[in-house]
């Protein structure tokens, strides 16, 4: 075995660049000691996630929810007959910071992704600072099955799998954007993004990188046709 523990840990944690990760995967196929070490690390992660995972599914105690509900009730309710100036002020304080943040974010996003930020409706939005799928991309991730998609589908679904945090993730490839989305309460958070297959130069590298990124994030095997169908029926949870 030629890799030290830190590299194996980084591999299991999805921290290695794709090239190194693929090399380790290939070597693990023939190096039993390496494969064992990887399995040992994965087993610990799996045990911890199985142990703590259910906590996030527990009913949230009322005491905690009350804290967050009460602060709303305590907020001053707008009076019915405020002056125009007061209304304008209220509007500004309520919307200004968020709006500018969102506009700045979508501008940056549009530039970064090379998509058309003004085209309707966008495939990507931001939610609490994270990139999330929207529009046709969100619809494809929600409904499209890899085993049953039209050849002309604008977004092609690749692999569906469970990541180390227990989320269902799906890789996708569209004309402008490819990547991996993972399902959370807010929708599909985009964990990886790369240029889509319209950029012909990237096509080969793109799909390989995507598969490697998926392999690095994956806990267990990718879903087969039945598992994918079942996951869709359960809302990808």
């Amino acid at each position: 075995m030629t890799y030290d523990k830190a590299i194996i840990a980084a591999f299991v944690d999805g921290e290695l660049d794709d090239l190194t990760a693929r090399r380790i995967e290939r070597e693990a196929a023939t190096d039993a000691a390496l494969a064992d070490e990887i399995a040992r690390h994965r087993a610990l992660t799996d045990r911890l996630q199985r142990h703590y995972g259910p906590v996030a599914d527990e009913t949230i105690p009322d005491d905690l929810l009350k804290l967050l509900a009460r602060s709303e009730a305590e907020a001053p309710a707008p009076a019915a007959d405020t002056s125009l100036a007061a209304r304008r002020e209220a509007k500004r304080t309520r919307f200004a910071p968020m709006h500018w943040g969102a506009i700045a974010a979508s501008l940056v996003l549009g530039l970064a992704l090379g998509t058309q930020p003004w085209g309707a409706p966008a495939d990507v939005a931001t939610e609490g600072g994270a990139l999330v799928a929207s529009g046709a991309l969100a619809a494809a991730l929600d409904t499209q099955l890899a085993s049953n998609q039209g050849a002309d589908a604008p977004v092609r679904i690749g692999l569906s799998f469970r990541d180390r945090a227990g989320r269902t993730c799906r890789s996708f490839e569209g004309a402008a954007l490819a990547g991996i989305g993972c399902r959370s309460d807010d929708g599909w958070t985009l964990e990886r993004t790369m240029p889509g297959n319209r950029q012909a130069d990237y096509r080969q590298a793109g799909s390989g990188d995507l598969a490697a990124a998926a392999a690095a994030m994956m806990a267990g095997d990718p879903f087969d046709e039945a598992a994918e169908r079942k996951a869709r029926a359960e809302g990808w949870r």
Partner: protein
């Protein structure tokens, strides 16, 4: 979305993080409660467009460390799992491998706080090393070395050593 609603969305994961840090459900929810109160008070310090979950984890973690330090000064031992108490006093190295087989709470309670928090952030919450380093305000190298030590101890105690 309202700040409070965003916090509600994060709560399930925050409770999980707190459970990992504190060990018991009651302590974890007390910790969450303190963290929410702190967050509501210092809402203005959170920058739109940055990750609220990371910000909340940092608040929660800092409160927990403060609490541990304060109870240490008072000579109070934070409650830990019974199985861990039975072997307390020994270092992980002198405890037979697999002693805490299946008792993850007990094994986690035996980790030093700074290793436990890294283990939870990376292995349970799925944060990247870089993100965990930002939450904990330490260099990435510190994250990886603490994670390695924490992992070794857990594998040893839980009997996953080869």
């Amino acid at each position: 979305m309202r700040f409070e609603d965003q916090l509600i969305d994060i709560l399930p994961r925050l409770r999980r993080f707190a459970r990992g840090l504190a060990g018991s459900a009651a302590d974890a929810d007390d910790l969450c409660q303190a963290a929410i109160e702190r967050a509501l008070k210092s809402q203005g310090q959170w920058q739109q467009g940055t990750r609220l979950d990371s910000w909340m984890y940092r608040i929660t973690r800092n409160l927990w460390i403060d609490e541990r330090r304060a109870s240490g000064r008072r000579g109070v031992h934070a409650p830990i799992d019974e199985a861990a108490v039975q072997v307390a006093g020994d270092t992980a190295d002198s405890v037979e491998a697999g002693t805490l087989r299946g008792d993850i709470d007990g094994a986690m309670a035996r980790l030093p706080d700074e290793q436990r928090e890294v283990v939870i952030l990376v292995l349970v919450e799925g944060y990247a090393y870089r993100e965990a380093a930002e939450i904990l305000d330490v260099p990435i190298g510190t994250v990886t070395s603490r994670l390695a030590r924490g992992r070794d101890t857990l594998m040893h105690l839980l009997g996953e050593a080869a």
